[in-house]
Amino acid sequence: MKKLINHPDAVVDEMVEGYVAAYPQYVAVLPTNKRALIGTHERTQGKVGVVIGGGSGHEPAFMGLIGKGMADGVPVGNIFASPPPHPIVEVTKAIHSGAGVIYMYGNYAGDCMNFDMAAELADLEEGIRVETVLVTDDIASASENEMHRRRGIAGGFLVFKTAGAAAERGYALDEVVRVTRKANDRLRTMGVALAPCRIPQTGQPSFTLEEGEMEIGLGIHGEPGIQRGLIATADETADILLDAIIQELRLVQGDRVVVLVNGLGSTTRMELLITYRRVDTRLKALEVEIARSYVGEYVTSLEMGGCSLSIMKLDDELEDLIQDAADTPMFVQMR
């Protein structure tokens, strides 16, 4: 395993140091906790605070998305491990502007427990009202009638984008929560992996695939998928993902959507665009309108190979929020 690192135990701290050094115009680390990052952008009094977070190894998520129109702060966990309550609470206090705070993260046992503890503490210590929206976009992780048990993967980016825009527009906390829940409800994701990742500390591949095999419905932590399949062409792969999503979202003629083809780490833009091409052709054949597309790396899994497809079914409110500007170190969008 060849990685550009210094010591496996130091990767997260050094990454955060490098990040803050590279983007001082965007982010700062809190003096109280070296894993507590907040944006240097202006937060008008009365703006709902937006906190997203989770383990490291998913960059640009989560810490890369701090800035105007996205997150106000991010507590940073170890690789693939939820941050503990302390940095979460510190971030919460630092970015709170009097209108409450929304927490968003993927639905994992660890994140739920740590963020819940933090929310309790923020209320207890400073009376800050915190609401939580769990990202549960991964179709493969539980059946449709157990939607609340699904885990959150790359589609989280679109949920964060929605909440960030709503907060920036001055929505009240309940309203931010409402529209963010709606975004999550109308969002589905499914992914495939072609190559595993390696956590620096163990150096071991997260799984081994035979030549010609792929994992279908994988997680973004190197977890195995729900099923192993023979390797398919980009078009066939896109079809597997699309079929599942189209069916659950019940997409029909006239629907408007936003599409996200997310690379997991080592898959080239070339491959992602070839995959997108098929998605586009199929949706156009269904006469579904694509309001906006994102093709690139948004939520990675270290250097895993493969991609996921996310589709959010829009209404006018969601579409408007998704189109809003955002300005962060790893994601910038003009309106």
Binding site: G110, R151, Q204, H221, G222
Partner: protein
């Protein structure tokens, strides 16, 4: 405590390996980071600290070093256990029972897992049951713990035949079958090292924790 930290550190690759089968492959790293943090706490604390303070500090250190799933679980365990033995410098045999009862209840309360969910609870719950049972029979404390360890071991082994219903591995469905749960494996390690230590020490049990 130091021995637990040492054992976890030694076996961390094995624990991560188990986690790769059904989870994200970091369990060994996380546990070893957590116990290393506890180890540092032990060094930093004043000699005269009582068990309550000791446990609470250990819990917070563990938590803030790792986050993750096991962070809140073991942190809550330590907090509850610390409260149960608050103010004491040495633990009697009955203190030990209160300690472990609170410890395990803390885990269950935080994680809401029940036996059969393929988690560390499949070790801790039967171990505690067995401990209480043997205490009730008035058995020698060492025998009680030996019984708890074998109940825990049986629970750990049984996780291999369970389909996960809690935590990361619960999304795998049947693919989680025939792999032991990593959290159960580390729980068993902690429990058995504790029991071993108890055997070697006779009086100053307070030092153990």
């Amino acid at each position: 405590m130091l021995t637990i930290a040492y054992t976890i550190d030694r076996d961390k690759d094995y624990l991560s390996e188990l986690d790769r089968k059904t989870g994200d492959g970091d369990h060994g790293i996380t546990m070893s980071l957590g116990w290393r943090a506890i180890k540092e706490t032990m060094h930093d604390l004043p000699e005269e600290a009582d068990c309550g303070t000791l446990c609470k500090t250990a819990g917070m250190k563990f938590l803030n070093a790792v986050g993750s799933s096991v962070g809140p679980l073991y942190a809550t365990a330590f907090m509850r256990a610390g409260a149960a033995v608050n103010g004491k410098k040495f633990l009697t045999e009955s203190d030990l029972l209160s300690f472990w009862t609170a410890f395990v209840n803390g885990i269950v309360e935080r994680g809401q897992a029940v036996v059969g969910d393929k988690t560390m609870v499949d070790v801790w719950a039967p171990a505690l049951d067995s401990l209480r049972e043997h205490y009730a029979l008035g058995n020698d404390v060492h025998a009680c713990f030996r019984a708890a360890v074998s109940a825990g071991q049986a629970g750990m082994i049984a996780t291999a035949d369970m389909v996960s219903r809690k935590g990361r591995s619960s999304r795998l469905g049947d693919r989680s079958l025939s792999h032991q749960d990593p959290g159960a494996a580390s729980a068993y390690l902690i429990l058995s090292v504790f029991a071993d230590m108890l055997e070697t020490l006779n009086t100053k049990e307070g030092d153990l924790v």
